[in-house]
């Protein structure tokens, strides 16, 4: 019920066009890349989705993360912009509840984007690699994995936005985190767990590694949730 309240709050903010626009833009990356480099892809080894993910996911993940950073800032800018958050804090609801409702909303937006991107990948795969019968299944698994990996980034970006009244500060921090993630070495497991670096990973061939990432992700989510709850409690104490 209160999740729908957060949905009402984003009316006329441009967030919905950003979801579909961002999703379509990211989906166009594999489509255009495949159209231009079809012969190169056909000579590569591996399944259709594995080739397409290897060649396109870095750019798509960057777009996804920039969307997350901008959207999280916007979600909290609607609260701080005209001081609506003061009214919300005088109502019988916890600020942490509002935070988690925004988290679920932004996660839902990411899911919509990943669905569009998955459709783009599947479209490219069907046209470039006809005869591969597992395209839709692989696309769904890859997008599901990618969706789960972006959740810590969503959580921490929302926390940064909640902490910064000035949207430009939170946006700046978000952009810095995204570009820092692109510079981290991909072969270092510990560094690859940075919340903004996780979404750049594609589903690994080794099951053990995938399981490691899932466990680490679970730990990051728990840490993030505890950090959020603690932050709102401490902020109230020192208000």
């Amino acid at each position: 019920m209160s999740g729908f309240l957060e949905l009402k709050k984003v009316k006329r903010t441009g967030l919905w066009p950003a979801v579909f626009g961002g999703g379509i833009l990211a989906a166009l990356v594999p489509i255009i890349n495949t159209a231009v480099r079809k012969e190169v892809f056909l000579q590569m080894e591996g399944s259709a989705l594995a080739i397409l993910m290897n060649e396109n996911w870095q750019m798509m993940a960057m777009l996804n993360l920039l969307f997350v950073a901008a959207s999280a800032c916007l979600l909290y800018h609607t609260e701080y912009g005209d001081n609506a958050i003061q009214r919300m804090n005088t109502l019988p609801q916890r600020e942490s509840k509002m935070f988690f409702d925004k988290f679920f909303l932004l996660s839902a937006f990411c899911l919509i984007m990943f669905t569009i991107e998955g459709a783009g990948l599947a479209f490219s795969a069907v046209h470039c690699f006809p005869g591969d019968g597992k395209i839709l299944r692989d696309a769904a698994i890859n997008m599901g994995y990618a969706f789960v990996l972006i959740l810590p980034g969503v959580l921490f970006m929302l926390l940064i936005s909640a902490a910064c009244k000035n949207m430009w500060i939170s946006l700046g921090i978000g952009v810095i985190c995204v570009f820092t993630a692109t510079m981290l070495p991909g072969d270092n497991f510990a560094l690859s767990l940075f919340p903004f670096a996780l979404p750049f990973h594609i589903i690994p061939g080794a099951k053990v590694l995938a399981e490691k990432y899932m466990i680490a992700l679970g730990g990051e989510m728990v840490l993030g949730i505890l950090a959020a709850i603690t932050f709102f409690k401490v902020r109230r104490l020192f208000a």
Binding site: L5, K8, K11, T78, N83, R87, N89, L91, P92, Q93
Partner: protein, 251 residues
Amino acid sequence: MNMIETKNLKKTYGDFTAVEGINLHIKKGSVYGFLGPNGAGKSTTMKMFLGLTKPTEGTFVIDGKKYPKNRMEILKEVGSFIEAPAFYGNLTGEENLDIVRKILGLPKYSVEEALDLVGLTQYKGRLARKYSLGMKQRLGLASALIGKPPILILDEPTNGLDPVGIHEIRTLIRSLPKKFNCTVLVSSHLLSEIELMAEDIGILNHGHLLFEGTLEELKNAARLKGFPTENLEDMFLAMIEEDNERGDSRR
């Protein structure tokens, strides 16, 4: 019976004391006028009641409920308007009130009712960021009044309104205890407004409660001290001046 009662309520920011050990007694079903110059501590006191800022020392009870233990129960009963209108600029007036309505679990007609009370029905479909200052003020009041809460905390509710608007809101506030069985704590620096609205008055200066009582008791206290008693403004200014002089000599 007191709806709001404070015991040595204090708020300090570092070495600055915004509110110094005040003991307020706001009777149930009355309009209590909170008077004081700018920076006296009125808004800070009201913010403490709403949990927007934590008291440094002291306690308060609202409708028998103690803060912070019963903070959520207190907020369910209190409608508030603090400092400046707070709203979602990207939503219409009606949509803004609908958000509050849903959080409070009120029926759908509460929105129309609140808009009607403050005279905003005609502009309910306009975006809040396109409202004039007076309309924003009315929206903030509607947000406080929605659902007719038993306690209203209003911080300078007539700011930015034209004389007709001031008269409307003043008449509305005066009628609330009888109409809706409501207790109102209203702050203002417009002494004439408080005189016309409030039954009891509290005068705050530099965080100290200089006086609390009825207008009649204020007149008697002023007469005993040799202050002018023709109108509230003269009494108020004389009390503030005396307190300022006392404060300067203390320093």
